[in-house]
Amino acid sequence: MALVLAAAMVEATVARPSAAESSASELDTSDDSFEEVIVTGVAPPSMDVLAGATATRIATDSRLAEGQQLADVLAEIPGVQIRRFGGVGERFEISIRGSRPEQVPVFLDGVRLDTSLTGASDLSALCLDVLEEVQVVRGPGASRAGTGAIGGVVNLVSRRLTDEPETRLRVSGGNFGTAEGSARHARRIGDWDASLGYCGFHTEGDFRFQQSRRVIDGVSVGSGDTVERINNQSDRHTALAQVGRTLGQGELRMTQLVTYLERGVPGSEFDQRARSHETDLSTLSSVAFGTPLAALKGASLDFLASHRFEQSDYHDPDAFIAGDSIDTETGVHNLTARSGARLERALLAGEHAFSLLAEGRFDERSSNDANQKSRYGGALRAELESSWLSQRLRISPSLRMESWQGLDVEWIPGLHLLATPIEWLDLRAAGARSYRIPSFQELYLPDRGFERGNEDLRPEDALSGEVGATIRSPFDSDWLDFQLEATWFWSRIDDSIAFQLISTNVVAPVNTGRSDTRGYELALRYSPHAWLRILASRTVTDAEIADTGNPVAGIAASQTDGRLELGPADLLKLVGEVHYTGRIPVSGGGAASLSSRITWDASASLDLAQLKRLPFGKLSKSLWISVRGRNLSNEAVRDGRYFPRPGRNFAVALESVF
């Protein structure tokens, strides 16, 4: 294997342009320094952040070539913790700076994907293939997105439309009977740019794992037997169609996303459910139009309307002892209308951009075991982005007013500062309030005796702040090409909503007390040579319940990731990754915790189209073949107490663009 790859690397020096021409890092933390892409068609939304916010964007192309999935891409961002609960097709959760998943809204091209049913998003229903970028805003910079944006915001950017016809095909296969394929074609048809993408995924999913032991009073309880994890089969279909065109001076863009997911729900390791399964169908339809305002120089308007529909069915025919079988069907509709205006002016020796946004939303839930419920809400947002001293000092105050039926009006102020005292140094500071309205599930969960909703819930209320610095290499030398980012953050969340035991055998959501989170993120990118790229990040999160000082369950005390890339990035990449996850408290009182762990991943990718003596270059722009191994040391790992993850596994992928 090593010999073959080495030979390919030698070939690369002949077949490829100079290293200086190859792309830089895909992981960048400032909007300005992101790898430039020439936009020839209708552009996707750019990163919607205020100067001074802590944000990361990752281009997906090279990650797809490595065989990564969406969870992998998100996991390497500082401050982001991905909690996986099973095999390759299982649901996973995202946490940013100690948040819960419902405190991280997810957007597709600026349109909300999270469901009002639970307030969270099922990111496992999406595939990386239809995306061009993954953008994550962490901390106070996210709060302007409105309800839920307490930990951060994820914005998934779909692949841009192109003038030139482009077809992209990818197939992959791996352990556990996993197969995946995607196809996308984009072209111009008359005045319209159009694209249609599809990705399908299937896995048998079952894997073997070591049962967990308990260590009580220093005594190990349990045998750690290796057993089978069942009912992990999963099928996913995702289709994304987009059309766009220029309309006058403006741009019109229409998007239709459909995801269908059917999978087993295997339950906990000690109560594996053999026949429990869920089926989810969701659609997102949106129309967006943006145009400069000819009558007013520096002014622009944009409009967006979207409809999201979700149908979730859950079925468990194997009743619990003396219980009934479970068969629930829930449908959710979200209608959103949004309009924005932006005006740019030079004034008072500075440059200023003032923007206004108005948004209305209607949510409705129907269910076979609960009354239909609906609610509406609206928001107004005003922001000013001002810069002075040739953009060396940028100040961005913002204020969002949001109101939801039955709840008080919420005001969300924020302030962001970015200073560049010297060319290679950025200093950032931000503070903001944020909040989250209760989800339909939390408010109106049907009363089943042992569980029910709580219509008296108050919204979660948060205050967060951060200061940070980004140092870019001041040296004009490849060997000293680095970027270091450091951010210290804190947040305080009041009235956190959590399901609690409220009586001897009844669980319901309640507003609990205050939690405080503080920590820091470090990210280093170092590329001393075009064939050598090093990324490292470390996040330390100290999240505790204010009254008791006990740690918040589920939040790893620290996460350290290292990534080493070798080879010319557009021909051959050998990637090694190490992931250290610190102790994870798994108990509200801090009494129980999962041990820390280290896992290793690696991948090798080769673009066969770049090998001159092979015919592939004539047929396609690129033809990547890759193999990716996860958990190479075959450790028994898990992110939750009762939910094992697979051991060592591999996937092989072939991707072609022509």
């Binding site: 070591q210 049962q211 009073d217 319940i545 009182g589």
Partner: protein
């Protein structure tokens, strides 16, 4: 050459794709539990029972719900520590093709996964879920389990399974072997580590707690009206027998229970391993109500052995004041005749699930409540009459004063409970339907009652008259001396604090003289399962 390289690359990558690991190269993942200064903490939430082991009171046992384990506790350490100092193995498991192909627990050590065996016999793929535990003797705990209904025998010193020899009596007028489907055929004794409490009970014209007629059961003969016993609850031992209550919840969403039953097993521990079998004389005793839970062995002053069974009554899951759906009572079984000789009706009390706490004088028996902040009790002197249940009167004798000459045995009833105090910052009763447990000290000095919702112990003073002939005055026999907050109340703000307290036990002896450390122990269910010590009469 390139083609060969590429072909090799592709071949190798696909070869790698066949190399899935089983995550076994490192150690099994460990969930580490840290003890606090007062509590030993373990997994699974609500502990399955808490009981003293026979002896000097320095040892106790509790049950870990998930994964199932019986944990012996050394109370001479503060906090309590495990008696087992070596690794505690899981219950053995065996592959089970019928139930998803998984390895499943084989807790009875019959070589077949419990779930498979259950499914084979028409009871679906149920594995055992720990219920309550009972100290058969100092070296043997009987853990009752539901789903796969049985008593599992465990050594509390090592937390390992213990053998027992099973022998099924031959068919007779009073015993039908086929009614005990999980037992070996008559004459084929087997050594296992558990005894099944699944029995088919046939009743003509019986109704369940919802008033619906009992039909035939596909798990039994499918013809005669009847049901299979389930929801194995309390256990008592007396006179060479084990008595096991089965509450047989049919459908939890409707609080629907089959008639309560008490199973009777002969138990001979003069042999090794002990020999047990369903009593050929009478293996199932039909009780007077629904949802029997606690079982208590009681010997009258004249030496008559009685079995007292708490009939909790049908109770619904939820909150509010209407959770108790049928009357509660304490049934009295004569251990010699195995007859239900008397019943003490207590109204819609919703009795707690534990055995009765009997005071040092043997005069009163108290039990907690399943859905309210109260204690209920009976006057044991009413059972003193050696002729009770032996006369011509119809059985069971109702000991509520309506069956002269037999006295009224009721002391604290649903209409006149012993009310426990409410913690001022505890949740309202309308939101948190609490449950209580009670223990009385062996020397009669005091008692302790726990309150699930309030996280509070009430310290009780018991004062019984010197003569058993003197009538008890409910107003003076028991009083709350003081209260002690030992855990947080079950309110939203206490989400990560120790709370949801349940069982209590009082360590026998004089604190500071017979032992150092806490004199009262209680179990708690949140945020982790815990057994904690606290000082009631002992000095801090």
């Amino acid at each position: 050459m390139d083609a060969i390289r590429v072909a090799l690359l592709v071949a190798l990558t696909f070869a790698l794709a066949g190399c899935a690991g089983d995550a076994s190269d490192g150690e099994a993942p460990a969930i580490e539990f840290s003890s606090s200064s007062e509590c030993i903490r373990f997994d699974g939430g609500f502990p399955s029972g808490l009981t003293l082991l026979p002896g000097d009171g320095s040892e106790a046992a509790t049950g870990q719900l998930t994964p199932t384990a019986v944990l012996g506790l050394d109370l001479d350490h503060e906090p309590p520590r495990l008696l087992a100092r070596d690794e505690i193995p899981s219950f053995p498991s065996v592959g089970c093709g019928r139930c998803g192909g998984l390895a499943r627990v084989d807790s009875d050590s019959d070589g077949e996964a419990d779930a498979c065996r259950s499914d084979e016999l028409g009871f679906r793929c149920f594995s055992p879920v720990a219920g309550d535990l009972f100290a058969v003797d100092a070296r043997r705990i009987a853990l009752s389990t539901s789903g796969y209904e049985q008593l599992v025998f465990v050594d509390p010193q090592t937390s390992t399974l213990l053998p027992v020899e099973l022998s099924t009596p031959p068919a007779s007028a009073s015993f039908e072997p086929s009614d005990w489907p999980f037992w070996p055929t008559p004459g084929a004794a087997q050594v296992r580590t558990a005894i099944s409490t699944r029995a088919c009970v046939y009743l003509d014209g019986a109704i369940d707690s919802s008033g619906d007629p009992i039909g035939s059961s596909s798990s039994c003969d499918g013809i005669r009206a009847g049901f299979a016993t389930g929801f194995t609850a309390g256990v008592a031992r007396a006179d060479g027998r084990l008595y096991v209550a089965t509450s047989t919840l049919l459908r939890s969403s409707r609080a629907q229970y089959a008639p309560g039953t008490l199973l009777v097993f002969d138990y001979d521990d003069t042999r090794s391993p002990p020999l047990t079998r369903p009593s050929a004389e009478q293996s199932v005793i039909l009780l007077s109500g629904f949802n029997p839970t606690g079982v208590t062995a009681y010997r009258t002053p004249s030496g008559r052995d009685l079995i007292l069974v708490s009939l909790t009554g049908a109770i619904a899951i939820g909150t509010g004041s209407d959770l108790v759906r049928s009357d509660s009572a304490i049934d009295v079984i004569d251990a010699e005749s195995l007859a239900l000789i008397a019943t003490i009706p207590l109204g819609r009390a919703g009795l707690g699930f534990t055995e009765l706490a009997i005071d040092a004088s043997g005069r009163i028996a108290l039990v907690g409540a399943a859905t309210s902040r109260a204690l209920f009790g009976i006057d044991l002197a009413a059972l003193d009459d050696p002729n009770l249940g032996l006369g011509p009167e119809p059985l069971p004798v109702v000991l509520d004063g309506s069956s002269p000459p037999f006295p009224d045995a009721r002391l604290f009833t649903a209409s006149a409970p012993f009310a426990l105090p409410h913690r001022s910052n505890g949740p309202p009763s309308s939101e948190c339907a609490t449950q209580t447990s009670v223990a009385l000290s062996r020397d009669g000095a005091f008692g302790v009652a726990s309150d699930f919702c309030d996280g509070m112990l009430s310290v009780l003073a018991v004062e019984t008259p010197a003569s058993r002939a003197t009538a008890l005055d409910p107003g003076t026999v028991l009083r709350v001396d003081r209260t002690q907050n030992v855990a947080a109340p079950l309110v939203a703000e206490s989400a990560d604090a120790l709370r949801a307290i349940d069982r209590v036990l009082i360590r026998p002896g004089e604190p500071g003289i017979d032992f150092d450390g806490p004199d009262v122990y209680f179990s708690a269910g949140l945020p982790e399962a815990a057994v904690c010590g606290t000082n009631i009469n002992a000095l801090d």
